[in-house]
């Protein structure tokens, strides 16, 4: 199962990306670039940000553009994980349609994604 802290981190970052796009009325791509541009060079923070954007950006763009919230994005990218018999952990109010339907739809959107080929462990 995904580490709880990883899930919290993912939901936090995706929320900020989504809200930056909303505040600046920009695309998700532009919002991610903006966020990275705000980070200092020190400790490779900016470089790491661009690397993460290059790796997960395309999937995040597709999912947020389909109006998925941070919970759905992070479960789809498997940073959050609902184990068998475990409760569904979510920060935002649940989507109107059934969670399973939403998640399945999201998974279809990123089905061919190269990032999901590798187990989330990395």
């Amino acid at each position: 199962p995904s580490n709880g802290h990883t899930c919290v981190g993912c939901v936090l970052v995706v929320s900020v990306i989504k809200q930056l796009a909303q505040v600046h009325n920009s695309t998700v791509q532009a919002s991610m670039e903006r966020l990275c541009s705000y980070l200092p060079e020190k400790l490779f923070l900016k470089a790491t940000c661009y690397l993460v954007v290059r790796t997960f950006g395309p999937d995040i763009i597709k999912l947020l553009s389909a109006d998925m919230n941070a919970d759905v994005v992070c479960h789809t990218l498997e940073f959050c994980h609902q184990g068998p018999g475990q409760a569904l952990c979510h920060l935002y109010p649940l989507p109107k349609e059934a969670w399973k339907v939403t998640l399945e739809k999201a998974r279809q959107i990123v089905k061919k994604s190269p990032t999901l080929k590798h187990p989330r462990g990395g």
Binding site: V16, L39, K42, Y92
Partner: protein, 450 residues
């Protein structure tokens, strides 16, 4: 997999490991546990070294031959008064009972803080993350602004001082004598290792004739140990030949839902174990203050329906939702009070009160050869009342991003409150007011700053 097996990395890996496990500075040329750089357990955490190429010069040590020729204890006072040939350290500090402060604590003691501007899109700009590198290399802690060892001016503008700044004001000979040896996630489970390492590292050092008085207090105030453990607080005040220790047993919030809740019996034995450990190591003349638990229901009461910074833009995330999310993921720092379950909150508060009574019982019934025992209530409600009298709101005393830790204002109000209690009830603990403070300032100015 383990990059540290590479021969050319072995040494630096070992250094990093020592820094992390022993909470000692990463950059420390003379290996005296004091540093000239701020982060990575540097002078944000412990008094700044005034000579990083001399292992016998560091803050808090007993002055070497009254510092005639050099500042061996880094308090900025050294040399000889040309008028009478008396060393300044002797003239201004001898007999003034100088002492420093050491804190062994958890995230609250180290002042864990995630700036809300890091996650507030509407206010985000190039300036928002300027402090991120410093914060990361300080483990997201800000000990330089903490209630125990803070030495910088409060960013909140509040006038209250940290315990260290109070000590320094009382006796300028205490300059730079602070150590914040706290760790995020410290709890009773790893407390003993923590104390042992600390006691070996610092207290024994205090035992040998170089270390000067240190007022050390250990403060695991809010650690909710998911494994049902407990936090403790301990305070030791070490005098050159006498060691006085205050044990702030800030028991914890390591309260797990009912089955794993810390029982008074478990707590009693853990506390006695720790007290006996210290009794065997601290020189005579110590003092121990057992510090009760607050009633953490104020977290839910004052925050649950307020919007979290992530929820302020669209009005869609409250602290209640955040608490539920963290609990669901089993990463909640305080499941017993950060919950919608009123029964659990009540149960947790009842148990907290029982644990506080356990401390009272120990303080009134137990005698130790090395220290005297006192008990002080941890009365957060008193802090809230004081803050409200100044027109403040209770929610302004808590960290906005994690909705749990006391923020800088709360930590400084707590420190001030504690200082007043100790000063009024046990003034001998804090040493005397130094009558030479003004002369020290006149001759040495800011004593080299921090």
């Amino acid at each position: 997999a383990d990059i540290c097996v590479l021969p050319f990395l072995a040494k630096i890996c070992q250094k990093i490991k020592r820094t992390i496990t022993n909470s000692v500075p990463f950059r420390d040329v003379d290996s005296d546990n004091y540093s000239v750089s701020p982060t990575l357990r540097g002078y944000h955490w412990r008094g700044r070294d005034c000579n990083d190429s001399d292992e016998m010069a560091y803050p808090g040590r007993r002055p070497d031959r009254w510092d005639e020729h050099r500042d061996s204890n880094c308090n900025g006072i050294w040399g000889v008064d040309p008028k009478d040939g008396i060393p300044y350290e002797k003239k201004f500090c001898e007999g003034s009972e100088p002492r420093g402060i050491v804190l062994l604590g958890d995230s609250a003691g180290a002042h864990f803080h995630i700036p809300p501007e890091w996650i507030t899109a509407s206010q985000m700009s190039l300036k928002s993350f300027f402090n991120l590198p410093t914060a990361l290399t300080d483990e997201l802690d800000w000990p330089q602004l903490s209630g125990a060892t803070g030495f910088l001016n409060a960013t909140s503008g509040i006038k209250e001082n940290s315990i260290y700044l109070h000590l320094r004001k009382r006796n300028r000979c205490n300059h730079r004598d602070y150590q914040n040896i706290s760790k995020n996630g410290a709890s009773s489970q790893n407390l003993e290792t923590f104390i042992e390492r600390y006691v070996e590292e610092v207290v024994l050092e205090a035992g040998i004739p170089t270390h000067c008085p240190t007022f050390t207090f250990l403060n695991f105030t809010v650690q909710c140990d998911p494994s049902g453990g407990r936090g403790f607080g301990m305070c030791m005040h070490l005098c050159c030949n006498l060691v006085r220790s205050f044990l702030f047993l800030l028991t914890n919030r390591g309260i797990d839902p009912v089955p794993k809740m810390t029982t008074p019996e478990q707590f009693y034995s853990k506390v006695m174990e720790t007290l006996k450990y210290l009794n065997a190591r601290l020189p005579k003349g110590s003092h121990v203050i057992l510090y009760g638990l607050p009633d953490g229901t104020f977290l839910w009461d004052h925050l649950h329906s307020r919007y979290h910074p992530l929820g302020q833009l669209n009005g869609d995330v409250t602290y209640g939702q955040l608490y539920a999310f963290l609990s669901c993921l089993q990463v909640s720092p305080c499941h017993g009070w950060m919950t919608a379950n009123e029964t659990l909150r009540t149960l947790t508060s009842q148990r907290a009160a029982q644990l506080s009574n356990t401390l009272k019982k120990i303080a009134t019934s137990q005698k130790f050869t090395s220290f005297r025992l006192y008990y002080v209530d941890f009365d957060f409600q008193e802090i809230i009342r004081k803050w409200q009298k100044r027109g403040g709101q209770p929610w302004q005393l808590l960290e906005p991003v994690d909705g749990f830790h006391p923020n800088e204002v709360a930590l400084l109000l707590l420190a001030d409150n504690l200082w007043d209690k100790v000063r009024l009830q046990w003034p001998q603990v804090l040493g005397k007011e130094n009558p030479f403070n003004a002369q020290i300032e006149q001759v040495f100015g800011d004593q080299g700053g921090h």
